[in-house]
Symmetry: C2
Subunit: 273 residues, 2 copies
Amino acid sequence: MKTREEIVSYLKGLRSRICEAFEKVEREGGGTGRFERKDWSYSKGAGGGEMSVIRGQVFEKAAVNWSGVEGAKFPGDDASGPFFATGLSLITHMSNPKAPTAHFNIRYIEAAPAGGGAGRRWLGGGFDLTPMGFPYDEDTRQFHDAARAALDPFGKELYPRFSQAAREYFTIPHYQRERGVGGVFFDHFSTGDLERDLAMWRGVGEGFLPALLPVLERRIAAPYSEADRQTQLKRRAQYVEFNLLYDRGTQFGFRSGGNAEAILCSMPPLAAW
Amino acid sequence: MKTREEIVSYLKGLRSRICEAFEKVEREGGGTGRFERKDWSYSKGAGGGEMSVIRGQVFEKAAVNWSGVEGAKFPGDDASGPFFATGLSLITHMSNPKAPTAHFNIRYIEAAPAGGGAGRRWLGGGFDLTPMGFPYDEDTRQFHDAARAALDPFGKELYPRFSQAAREYFTIPHYQRERGVGGVFFDHFSTGDLERDLAMWRGVGEGFLPALLPVLERRIAAPYSEADRQTQLKRRAQYVEFNLLYDRGTQFGFRSGGNAEAILCSMPPLAAW
């Protein structure tokens, strides 16, 4: 898997598998939500994206976005020439306050220097878990164990490094604490062996559902009170704050002239301040 | 009115008059909300702030913040030396979707160069109106007429200039449209005649309630549907997007190490995406 086409094809396939898995959770939880797809075109260059959004009973709202765009200059880097970026990005907002919010993303980027010449290619990605005020050690442990299991085949040093990076990245500076219970995060990743790097990256892609689904299974039918719901809505507000104030993906999206609806479809269905 | 003490005293007095006026609207509208005050200290220097928040029936949430802080270096400007900034900032989120959201701010700033020497002093401020999906020409006209009436005594050129600045400032780039129906906005204002500038600035301060109160009176008891409520909650989401992604006051607040609770207390009580 090395060409753009193969990478895009993997991402779209994973998108479809995740949507199917979530629809199964929705259905088995007694919900009737289905993913609806909407495509968009990249106004500043070629390509575009496909956003899939479910608004159900188990999944109050979840969005799974694939995008693949190319343009004349890498956004935010004046020394850059033509770029290509493709990725999958997902956020789940559950109805049940006891069920955490999850975020997953993998991305592949190529950027050439402005004057021409050999470009760079790098990878980024990861997944992390954010309890909405109700953290469970069992969930945190299992989620991190699954992340480690996904990464260990590609190097025992990766999980410690990427989970530390997640602790740093998913910190809300104005509260001086992590937004959730972490996970794994990597960016600008390139060892020089693209085939090997892509195998690791795909390992993260395959690792996400096994990390999240058991957590959802344990929580989506948990009893909760109206006060718990209020707690959840206030936690979601902090998620909004992080995403709009600090998240690199959001900022890259707006800077690159991305589709506003696609960038913002990760926002929670309801949030309270 | 030229000393810091006089300026702070004016701001605090105006804060109290606005809170009283809003509590009267709340009471006459059948609500029981009262402003509650919470003080905070500036962690990166001297001073702090006083935030007043009401969560009532007519005012679903409104926040009126006074702050006065000083520090060693103007935030975001490495060439700056000691600074002093004081201001009043408010946002109203009404229960009734037919009643617009209003924002008002006036601020006074002193900043000295890093090496010492004569500093600069400037003023900023303005107020603007954002219907939550239900604009009324009558409200827009009356609000702008009041803004013009507040500014005209200080120069007929001010209202056209400041209302144009508001059109530009209160634009949401990712939707390529204004967030509301405008108002007046000015920043870095200094003619060299501080006494005269402060008189205009105070004129804006005095002009806010006469601009807003008649609008509220017309709308807070208007009939509305659950669909109207949903429209309101989605409009509020765009307000959140503007404030967190683009608003200079929010960015100044976070950059200067301001109190997160005070910066974010302008956020709506509930918003939907």
